[in-house]
Point group: C2
Chain length 451, copies 2
């Protein structure tokens, strides 16, 4: 594939065509592009231009474009469409994408849009999906699936399947249900085609089928699907009735979003933002952790202030404060990141005590290495008196060990309490380790130098 690349020239051309209302040229140009590429183009246009483009193309393609567009731009474009126009877009979409779009619409027009959807079955399915939280299996699933009754024979089954398959783009599996609609198993296409038409489905279906509950968390569904290499998974309600299916492409999005969220949390960004968001949004996402970090800094200032005699007696100790602080922060971030990742991937097993002991050993090795170098540099380069250099070195070892233990313990503790441990990396751990590190440093100095 010559990959599509949205250049500034291409964008400029499209803008010009829109300005000149050259509809024919625009249409034939867009014909060549994949809907995902047109969505990328629309994201870069202003709202009027994007709306013009969307109105120009036909519903079958525009619905897919809308589904792929950036949420904010889509919202603005939909604002320029009538309820009837929105409904005709939703008509073309799979129920899951349609429900996602409805969830973004202003409350007052939702009712009208839904009532304008001509295919009432489709509308009913969309409404069904609206009641699930977007982070659950229910919020991820679509209604489009092929299901057959265990009491049918092969002939009825094939006939019914043909009708159902019309609404389903990709048939991943044929699900078998009982009279109450409860999921019983799945059917292999091969068995269906090689068995006599009078055979009952209940005699040929495979009862082993992976499924998830409608309230299962999206993250958990992603884990199950990627562990078992599934391309689709059926979703059942509380009493085991088949209510939808989730496909792997939606899960890919969940995995990406989850990873982005964890990454941002580790970087001290408290709300989901993108580089292109507004200054206000970016500020709101960043200020909270800066404030927490600031109070950490004020805390550190109070600690240093309370060791006045040391400051006066050994001012040289103060120039190594940044070293202590950086080390405490780095060690804390490292150990917490390893724990957070281990917890997310379910690879952390065994007792916490053993794990802390391991961190203690790693801290001892790293601490020993760093402390030796610091000892030499502070004594020979900065001319720090011998005892003071030893004090600094011992403090470095202690700080590294304790920072590692804190970095390991906090994520496990949060996880046990049901809190997402990902919050425990980045600024959280650096701030608390700043304070502990400096406290340990001055306490060590007080003990050894006896002030």
């Amino acid at each position: 594939m010559t990959p599509f690349k949205l250049t500034d020239e291409l964008l400029e051309d499209i803008r010009q065509l829109i300005a000149d209302e050259k509809n024919g040229e625009l249409q034939s140009m867009m014909q060549e592009f994949h809907y995902a590429d047109i969505a990328e183009i629309a994201d870069e246009l202003n709202v009027e231009e994007a709306t013009y483009l969307i109105k120009l193309l036909n519903s079958e393609k525009t619905s897919d474009i809308l589904a792929e567009m950036h949420e904010d731009i889509r919202e603005a474009v939909l604002n320029n469409l009538t309820a009837k126009e929105i409904a005709s877009e939703l008509e073309e979409l799979d129920t899951d994408d349609a429900a996602d779009i409805i969830n973004e619409l202003p409350k007052e027009i939702v009712q009208e849009v839904i009532s304008e959807i001509e295919d009432r079955e489709h509308a009913k399915h969309i409404v069904d999906l609206l009641r699930y939280d977007e982070d659950t299996a229910g919020g991820l699933m679509a209604k489009e699936l092929v299901k057959v009754n265990e009491n049918w024979n092969v002939l009825t089954c094939v006939k019914e399947m043909r009708a159902q398959a019309e609404n389903v783009t990709r048939v991943h599996s044929i699900y078998v249900v009982d009279d109450e609609g409860r999921l019983k198993g799945r059917l292999s296409l091969k068995d269906l085609l090689t068995t006599s038409t009078k055979t009952h489905i209940k005699d040929i279906y495979i009862s082993k089928v992976d499924y998830v509950n409608v309230n299962e968390k999206g993250e958990e569904v992603a884990k199950i699907m990627s562990k078992y290499d599934l391309e689709a998974i059926p979703v059942v309600d509380e009493i085991g009735r088949l209510v939808g299916r989730i496909t792997i492409d939606d899960i890919v999005d969940v995995i990406r979003e989850e990873a982005d969220k964890d990454y941002q949390m580790a970087a001290g960004i408290s709300r989901e933002v993108e580089a292109d968001d507004s200054i206000l949004e970016l500020t709101r996402a960043r200020l909270p952790w800066l404030l927490i970090g600031m109070f950490g800094g004020i805390g550190a200032a109070s600690i240093i202030d309370s060791f006045q005699p040391i400051m006066i007696g050994f001012p040289i100790l103060l120039i190594f404060v940044p070293l202590i602080q950086a080390t405490a922060g780095n060690v804390g971030v490292q150990s917490s990141a390893i724990m957070v990742q281990g917890l997310a991937n379910d690879t952390v097993k065994g007792e916490i005590l053993k794990r802390l002991l391991k961190e203690f050993s790693i801290g001892l090795i790293n601490g020993g290495a760093i402390a030796s170098i610091v000892l030499l540099i502070s004594h020979f380069i900065f001319g720090t008196p011998y005892m003071v250099s030893i004090t600094i070195a011992i403090a470095v070892i202690l700080v590294i060990i304790i920072a590692a233990l804190i970095g390991t313990f906090i994520p496990v503790f949060l996880d046990k309490r049901g809190i997402d441990p990902a919050i425990a990396t980045g600024p959280f751990i650096t701030t608390s380790n700043d304070i502990f590190g400096i406290l340990i440093y001055f306490l060590t100095a007080k003990l050894i130098l006896g002030i």
Copy 2:
């Protein structure tokens, strides 16, 4: 699905059954488990136990178990198998998984293992795959696919497809090639079944098909497949010949690994490690960044040391060093994380100057807020003289703005130079911002307080 949960009791039971050599019970127990679950069990056993379990089960299941197992444990278990036994496992695997396992085998037995594979076609395919870098499309692809010649008619095509499909677990697409094996397009199963058997394939195939080059980076393949919602993509060589296909489940693994790697890089972990790795491995992954952080700390110490007159004249300035350092670090990590993510998701467009201006504005707002609070606290709580408090507040604003600019600029700079910008977060940015932050702080003090 009642999700599989590996409890300590279950593990103990299995260990006991292995110790007592109760093969029958073990076999019937494992019968009930999915191979991915058995792989999870094997990962927790010691090498002798895992080998015992693998040897007990039949090749069809064990090959899948081996493919899902943790690399280190698999390597150890394979060490206990003969070349012939390994070959019979590879026989059952898809070519991509088989090639991955061969890549881990000691060089001296690779030749022997390959020669023991009975299906010579399969062996040849595996050898083909060995020459690709594991991070490229070639390293991700498998040879199992269904392809038909454009010059065949529908009848020949259906016959040939049946034979090919036997070796392919899931048929995602039927690819069309010319006499030289070059990818021409794809075929819809529906068209194939509804057309007269004498029709030539060249008259019914769809020429629009997404594909990737064999040397394309895995990360890029992941982007393309998730952008276009593809479940499989064909891979072509330099002259356009169809050489393999990549399925979405392999891409899910690529996305997860990529996210894990970025997360670890941001946390200052320089080699891929897991919580369960050995103390030595974890130390080696962590020490490099701690050393760099240490040298940063030493640099900061030199800077403070070089402002001796200020230290003596205004010792109170020293207690706010941790605040300056923490703020510089946090701001740098935030801005770099947003840029790194934006670059990875291709959402960063437009000029760098505009983006720096935006960061400047955000820095001004955040800086203003933090500086005002610091001003009040330092003056009223710590009793810092008015001019010194103002000095600290101005330094805070400057530090926040400059840290934000550095955090934004470095990832863009690295990206332009072809270096993975993910390296620019975490310790890298905190270390450089520590130094810049402290330098700015004391320079500001020197300018305003005139020492």
